[in-house]
């Protein structure tokens, strides 16, 4: 039972990360019907920016522990949002009216570009996050030891998801995003600046991905330049699992995939951990391509 709860909380923590990344995929897909292949690499960039801010500027020395983390997260949010904005302007906007293949290839190209840019800047080795900023307490819940960092990760990802949900459902800008996702032409006629909405979506999604990147750095203590692909593919699986284009679906899908993967690697085989996620992806696309919560899929797939 102890093992089960350990794996469950671990799965929820990792699932929270998948969910945060999946939100970026699903929001972009919602408004543009485009899979942003470079999203996983924006997540990597977030993780590496966090690394730079923590180490090079010695932030952990200047501000007390939790303050430093919050400060770094805010800076990463701003920087990654800027990169997302530029990405859309350079690689996607010129292709808005061309074929789907062109946009997909351009997205792939951007992904390859980012991944190798990170490699050239930071080197091919993995980088280690400073140890002292990470809370090392272990909480005891009903006799089971759970690291505090795990609880904090679950709480932080849930808080961000709720904030995003509130933002899209209760604010004017959120309504504009939803309207653009349903029908771009009609949204334009209603006076919504669709280009600005798309730019905004390309800032919110990567910002959440960047936060997820820093969280991975804090949780596992190390980051490497190829991790964007694996996390990106898994987060994409999570988005499909929940129903792509559907914001609550991405949250549910992410948490579910994290738990499936954690339990699968504990009880089936750790060596097949990555394969489990890809198998889930293939199965869900074959059996129920709309995902768990997805009812609004316009095209037949």
């Amino acid at each position: 039972m102890e093992e089960f709860f350990q794996q469950l909380t671990n799965g929820l923590a990792v699932g929270g990360i998948y969910a945060l990344i999946a939100l970026g995929y699903t929001m972009v897909y919602g408004v543009l019907k485009l899979i942003n292949f470079a999203h996983g690499d924006l997540f990597t960039i977030g993780a590496y920016l966090g690394f730079t801010l923590f180490t090079a500027f010695g932030l952990s020395g200047m501000v007390a522990g939790p303050g430093a983390v919050v400060l770094v997260l805010l800076m990463v949010v701003g920087l990654v949002a800027l990169i997302g904005f530029l990405l859309e302007r350079v690689a996607y906007r010129p292709l808005r009216s061309s074929s789907r293949l062109s946009a997909v290839v351009s997205a792939l190209g951007a992904s390859i570009f980012f991944q190798n840019a990170v490699m050239l800047i930071y080197g091919a080795k993995f980088q280690v996050y400073p140890n002292d900023i990470r809370p090392s307490y272990v909480l005891s819940i009903m006799g089971i030891d759970v690291p505090l960092v795990r609880i904090m990760m679950i709480a932080a990802s849930l808080a961000l998801m709720l904030a995003l949900y509130w933002f899209t459902q209760r604010t004017r800008i959120g309504a504009a995003i939803r309207a653009t996702a349903i029908d771009q032409g009609a949204a334009k006629l209603m006076g919504i600046d669709v280009n600005r909405v798309i730019s905004l979506v390309f800032m919110i999604g990567p910002a959440l991905g960047g936060v997820a990147g820093v969280m991975v750095g804090l949780y596992y203590g190390q980051v490497d330049f190829t991790m964007g692909w694996v996390y990106g593919l898994k987060a994409f699986t999570a988005a499909i699992l929940g129903g792509i284009g559907n914001i609550p679906g991405a949250m549910v899908g992410g948490l579910l995939l994290g738990v499936i993967e954690a339990l699968g690697s504990a009880y089936i085989s750790i060596a097949w951990k990555d394969a489990i996620a890809f198998l889930v992806l293939i199965l869900i696309l074959i059996i129920r391509p709309t995902g768990l919560l997805g009812e609004r899929v316009a095209d037949k797939i």
Binding site: V90, G109, F114, W229, L233, I286, K300
Partner: protein, 331 residues
């Protein structure tokens, strides 16, 4: 085929045949790699270029072929070149099994699933599936191929083997392109629904495109295994698939374009060895820029031309025009 075209092909053949006399072993080896990637990209071109199916897991079929060869050779002592058709058949069978359930997926979903497949194959190879694949270290000690008693071992020997194989592939794929099968694939690429409506069995043609592409990739796997004498899961990583995908897309989907793409993407970086690590960076940038300014690729396939039957030519005048060409196209 006009005379000038025949002479130009003959010219290329002579250049390819004479080239190794001017090259040192290192550059011969580079050209062997270009040849291997050319064949792989040509086989991917059936799926991606001709049928327009976003397939990014070609390394999986290649890997199946190479591993079948390696296992047959090291465990049962089958001569390498004898294993070639079986490697192709194994890859084709594998393609049939995995492609059947996913063939109906649309564009980018297919892309993601094929990425998933190539990753699962790699993980399976690392985990020493069936106890045959040797885990992360792979299989070593694959023997050199012999052809009519001649042992193929030096880079020059492989150069001729690989480029003869490229020539055969180009000829066969050219025939395929101009066949009923090739026309059906192009129709599916242009408009899936219209093709289905005109009585083209799209699911079956798509599946056969996968099977044929995989067959050829599997056979190429044999030559790769024979050349390297050692294979490991890392040789068939997802990046190999990306490189092949980029060759076809940037080349433009015609056979000439694919060959040009292979030269540029595999051969060109050898000239800039000091920037080797920036190679993929340039790849990515080239893909973005290409899609914005020339989405059809460097050398897209030329439009199909058909000779008009005599009686139609009389009706429409000397130059048939588009309408008559369409009539001819159906003939």
């Amino acid at each position: 085929m006009t005379v000038s075209r025949t002479t130009s092909y003959a010219g290329i053949a002579v250049v390819v045949a004479v080239l190794p006399l001017l090259l040192d072993p290192y550059w011969t080896d580079v050209f062997v790699s270009i040849g291997l990637y050319s064949v792989l990209a040509l086989s991917l071109n059936i799926i991606l270029g001709q049928a327009g199916l976003f397939h990014m897991g070609h390394a999986a079929f290649y890997a199946v072929g190479a591993y079948v060869t390696a296992i047959a050779n090291t465990m049962w002592g089958v001569p390498v070149l004898w294993a070639m058709p079986f490697a192709g058949l194994a890859a084709a069978l594998f393609a049939m099994l995995v492609a059947r359930p996913i063939i109906h997926l649309r564009g980018d979903y297919l892309l993601i699933v094929t990425i998933g497949i190539v990753e699962i194959v790699r993980i399976a190879l690392i985990n020493n599936v069936f106890g045959l694949t040797g885990g992360a270290n792979g299989i070593f000690g694959i023997s050199r191929p012999t052809l009519f008693g001649f042992k193929i071992a030096k880079p020059v020997h492989f150069y001729y083997l690989v480029w003869a194989y490229v020539a055969c592939s180009v000829l066969l794929f050219r025939r395929l392109e101009n066949s009923r099968f090739g026309r059906a694939l192009n129709y599916i690429k242009e408009d899936d629904t219209a093709a289905e409506g005109s009585g083209v069995n799209t699911a079956s043609y798509k599946l056969w495109a996968f099977v044929l592409g995989a067959f050829w990739a599997g056979m190429t796997g044999t030559i790769y295994a024979a050349k390297m004498t050692i294979i490991s899961p890392e040789s068939f990583s997802f990046w190999e698939s990306v490189v092949l995908f980029a060759i076809v897309i940037l080349g433009g989907g015609s056979n000439r374009g694919v060959l040009l793409g292979a030269f540029l993407l595999i051969g060109l970086p050898e000239f800039f060895r000091e920037f080797a690590s920036a190679r993929m960076l340039a790849f990515g940038l080239a893909m973005v820029v290409m899609m914005i300014f020339r989405p059809q690729g460097m050398l897209p396939p030329m439009p199909r031309f058909y000779k008009l039957p005599e009686r139609i030519r009389c009706v429409t005048g000397k130059d048939g025009g588009a309408a008559a060409a369409q009539v001819g196209g159906e003939a």
